[in-house]
Symmetry: C2
Subunit: 137 residues, 2 copies
DNA sequence: ATAAAAACGATAATCATTACTATTTTTATC
DNA sequence: GATAAAAATAGTAATGATTATCGTTTTTAT
């Protein structure tokens, strides 16, 4: 149960993956649902959640927790990488800055147990929102 | 509405704060509720949530999102600091390692918008769980 | 004392997510 | 190709954390 060959073929899952692979905005399960519905009018939200959860458990896609009561976001790229959430428009994007220090490794050096990973989410204002702000007042 | 003087006195809130201030384990709202109930048998979970939310909004306590469907945890210390979640026993604790690089500042240098903060949660196994693991097999 | 504002307790509502179940699809085998 | 077990689906109910509502009680300024 560690790779995709353990799953039976499913048109719905293929459509979910196809939709997700074209997106850079890390959509929610509901957004995936509404879009895949165009091709599969009878698909259910539960099916979308089941497939997204399976795919992220298998390491085929990524799942991003947004904190609070915000819905999770899904990412065609399963590799650990950094994300940025804009306080202005709420957009979520990959954070394309150069390499940053590996906090988990640094923290592990001074920790009594063992630290194997960490998850970081960045907050601020995206380029667009900064532009709008300076345009006002 | 930016400090505690904007709130009216409340015995329930005092009890919630008193309970929380003695704890280093970052309890959930439900844990706070069950404990404060000893002194206020008629307190409701909604009151606990309302007070905890107010207090964290005012910067008097901290609120920690755990990801997934896990309930939030509350921290008597409102200052931004790092937390560690043990994959073994599920305990949440402050991460007392020396100072770590300021990722938000580093990332901001190479970002088109503005990054003002980031939240990091560390994962691994606590000292106790490591000891149990090596004791097995 | 008193009246407006805020907090309370009880409970209902919300929202994301998961679980359940009968039916349909996939896939390995004949 | 027939077929039967396993997995997936659609529809829907359930769960769990959190927030909202509302009539009552407490706080606080006058």
């Amino acid at each position: 149960m560690t790779d995709i060959s353990t799953l039976k073929k499913s048109k719905q899952r293929d459509a979910i993956l196809a939709f997700l692979s074209n997106r850079k905005d890390h959509p929610t399960a509901d957004t995936v649902y509404m879009n895949v519905k165009n091709d599969f009018p009878s698909i259910s939200l539960g099916t979308v959640y089941r497939n997204l959860t399976q795919l992220s458990d298998l390491g085929i896609i990524g799942r991003i927790n947004m904190g609070g009561t915000l819905p999770d976001r899904f990412d065609p790229n399963p590799e650990p990488h950094l994300h940025f959430l804009c306080r202005g428009c709420g957009c979520l994007s990959d954070l394309d800055v150069g390499p940053l220090p590996d906090l988990a490794a640094l923290a592990d050096e001074h920790f009594d147990g063992r630290i194997d990973s960490c998850v970081t989410l960045f907050y601020g204002y995206c380029e667009k929102c900064l532009a709008m702000e300076s345009g006002l007042s």
